[in-house]
């Protein structure tokens, strides 16, 4: 039982280390575009949404990040000219996050990013899909248990 405490036997450390290693892969690639990894994730959501600009809390729900993380991050994306934040006319509490022309255009320029990163993992497509599905299941199990 004591052996379970050994670092390399723990899935949790493997997950933590893999997550940071992957961020290391992203960093130099995203640097070319002046972005950080969480900023890139926000853009992925915006690109996926197309025309209907999500609110800050909808972004938060998609990425599971709160306003404490998103507010300053979105300000930096706005300062970079990729995003605009506008108070909703119908509900003055809401802030809608939309893409600028530059933000939309960036999508094409970053087309090859996922492929470049996938290559760096050294895994085949089938393995990547299996890994992703297991991880998604872990994440969803954890979140489901937390809601109860």
């Amino acid at each position: 039982m004591t052996d379970d405490l050994v670092l390399r036997r723990q899935v949790c450390f493997a997950l933590y280390a893999a997550s940071r290693a992957l961020t290391d892969v992203y960093r130099p690639i995203l640097d070319e575009f002046g972005l950080t990894y969480p900023q890139y994730l926000v853009l992925l959501v915006l690109w996926e949404r197309g025309d209907d600009a999500p609110t800050v809390s909808e972004l938060g729900a998609a990425l599971r990040l709160d306003s404490g993380t998103l507010s300053p991050l979105l300000k930096r994306l706005e300062a970079a000219g990729l995003v605009v934040r506008t108070r909703s006319a119908r509900d003055e509490r809401r802030v809608e996050v939309g893409l600028t022309a530059d933000g939309v255009a960036l999508r094409q320029r970053m087309d090859e990013v996922p492929l470049r990163v996938a290559r760096a993992t050294g895994l085949g497509e089938a393995e990547l899909i299996a890994l992703r599905d297991t991880l998604t299941r872990v994440t969803e199990t954890i979140h489901r248990q937390k809601e109860q």
Copy 2:
């Protein structure tokens, strides 16, 4: 190809989300002991080492963290009375990180932490081992490629 940009199709997001979800599982458990997750990882290494106290850079090699992260973290562990930092007599550049009696004793009290966390993932033992091995392989592939 454009579909590859969709958030939920990316392994990378799955890894990032799973890592944060797992940290969420650790947080309330480690809170009982007044620890954060990275602090717990440092203790795991120290417990594993037993008597020979590692230096800051040896800790960094084990966890892949640099002094910018470890220096303040170790000061907090020292302030909590779990760890002592002593300049090596033989090489005044090195700082050896040892456990206090409290730090050693904590190991027993935290014996069930891995089990409690493993349960929260909702995966069986075989799945956990397979997931861990895949993740370890990803991490090592990435680090190997970076060294070349």
